[in-house]
């Protein structure tokens, strides 16, 4: 296991190059205006965590990098996206994205990767809705997998809502919520019914964050 907390490591060289090359222009393009649910949410995000965010399009991973630009964030991507083209595969590998195969629920190999990243004090972005939701459509029901993955890694869920821009001239508006902890105080697994409650709280929080960005 590598030592966590170091600013530079060779294993992230490609990742950091992509991040910097991509980050500077996207920060200028999106010029994010960030709102916070409360003072706890305003504190810089430290350590491992699961970022739960809404899914509006394929550019969302770039947007999340601009909202939390000071951290390394890894995204989860469906197996089909990895198989889309050689260029896409290269970009996803450089970004150290995590491959998921929703058609094969028994395959939990992605779990090891998420654990590795969060144990190394990195962030993993998850879209709890599971699908892209177009502008004007309501948020979909959040899937329980987000709470389960965070419970498995013993890391908090950090809710982030990114509002669609009205035009390219508008700043991107995003809101960050107070983290949710889907495990008991002594770090034990909660029953499924309690995890469902955590996801209900997450849904409420996301709706609140959406209102804040209006």
């Amino acid at each position: 296991m590598t030592k966590p907390g170091r600013l530079f490591r060779y294993r992230y060289l490609a990742f950091d190059i992509v991040k910097v090359l991509n980050g500077i222009p996207t920060l200028l393009i999106f010029r994010p205006k960030i709102f916070y649910e409360n003072e706890k949410a305003r504190k810089p995000i430290r350590g491992g965590g699961i970022i739960a965010t809404n899914h509006k399009g394929f550019i969302d991973p770039v947007k999340i990098f601009t909202v939390i630009f000071y951290r390394r964030i890894h995204c989860m991507a469906r197996k089909e996206i990895f198989e889309h083209s050689a260029l896409m595969r290269l970009v996803l590998r450089m970004g150290q994205c995590i491959k998921v195969d929703p058609e094969n629920p028994a395959d939990t190999s992605y779990l090891a990767k998420i654990r590795e990243y969060t144990a190394d004090k990195r962030l993993v972005a998850i879209y709890p809705e599971g699908h892209i939701v177009k502008d004007g459509e309501d948020m979909l029901e959040f899937k329980l997998g987000t709470a389960l993955l965070a419970a498995s890694c013993k890391v908090p869920i950090i809710p982030v809502y990114i509002a669609p821009r009205k035009s390219i001239w508008n700043r991107m508006r995003a809101a960050i919520g107070e983290p949710l902890y889907p495990y008991s105080e002594d770090g034990k697994m909660l029953p499924m019914a309690d995890l469902q409650k955590v996801m209900e709280d997450l849904t409420e929080k996301m709706l609140l964050l959406r209102e804040m960005t209006k």
Binding site: P105, A106, D107, T108, L111, A112, M189
Partner: protein, 83 residues
């Protein structure tokens, strides 16, 4: 840890994983299929994996849950890991 202890613990985990279970946990036997007999969804399976790892202090790192056809095979795997 003998097989009956592991099965007993699996029954407890099943109760936590499937709040609206169709099968009573006392009726779970080693020859039951996880998907068809116990009626577990993908999210229930994921919960089972995570909870079993925590309770038995093992990692399901070299297998997919699809490799197990019944409860008995899961018990075999846990026993091998704990050996």
């Amino acid at each position: 840890m003998d097989r009956s202890d592991i099965l007993s613990k699996l029954r407890d985990i099943y109760v936590m994983a499937v709040p609206d279970a169709k099968v009573s946990s006392e009726n779970i036997t080693e020859d039951m299929n996880l998907l068809t007999d116990l009626g577990m969804s993908s999210i229930n399976l994921l919960y089972m994996v995570i909870a079993m790892e925590e309770f038995f202090d093992i990692r399901f790192d070299d297998v997919s849950f699809g490799d197990f056809s019944n409860v008995g095979e899961v018990i075999d795997y846990i026993q091998n890991k704990k050996a």
